[in-house]
Amino acid sequence: AQRVTQPEKLLSVFKGAPVELKCNYSYSGSPELFWYVQYSRQRLQLLLRHISRESIKGFTADLNKGETSFHLKKPFAQEEDSAMYYCALIRQAGTALIFGKGTTLSVSS
């Protein structure tokens, strides 16, 4: 079964500390993986996708097929990074996005 697992419900860090939001997936073949972010009172929006290999707002994510992981990282957290983060993959049948349960990131000063 295709599945996305985000083991942490809440991650609290101090401003300037490194951040790593964990994501593991279950998928046969080559997955298309994404990170979405939802800031308070805003729409869910795409943060980054693995095939573009770009860095958005200082966040990066590397696909590790051996560990079936796609962890989201940022070297220095900012207070404005506080939000709900979802890891997702495109399902093979139907092209729907399948999401993990999400991790709330809280950055305090």
Binding site: E32, L44, I90, T95, A96, L97, F99, G100, K101, G102
Partner: protein, 111 residues
């Protein structure tokens, strides 16, 4: 430009009442459309998706149904709401290059 509209923003309904949530997309044709529910502690759950008019695929057996009467209109319905139907409902469409755009959502509280 391509936009997605979803309404109402919030809704409080009694148990046993009907439900109709609407989602419309502008600036595109024949989009893939999706309904998700975001419930506390359960993340985003795919409920329905549609690849064209009148074509609906259901992901989870439940008290809800979906319809697509027009190319850019996607409706989520229920004949009789249950308490467990409470949640945050999101409509989404799939654009080019695998980009998914989400609506602003409807917060449904069944009382």
């Amino acid at each position: 430009s391509q936009t997605i509209h979803q309404w109402p923003a919030t809704l409080v309904q009694p148990v046993g009442s009907p439900l109709s949530l609407e989602c419309t997309v502008e600036g595109t044709s024949n989009p893939n459309l999706y309904w998700y529910r975001q419930a506390a502690g359960r993340g985003l759950q795919l409920l329905f998706y549609s690849v064209g008019i009148g074509q609906i695929s259901s992901e989870v057996p439940q008290n809800l149904s979906a319809s697509r009467p027009q190319d850019r209109q996607f409706i989520l319905s229920s004949k009789k709401l249950l308490l467990s139907d409470s949640g945050f409902y999101l409509c989404a469409w799939r654009g080019r290059a695998d980009g998914y755009t989400f609506g602003s959502g409807t917060r449904l509280t069944v009382v």
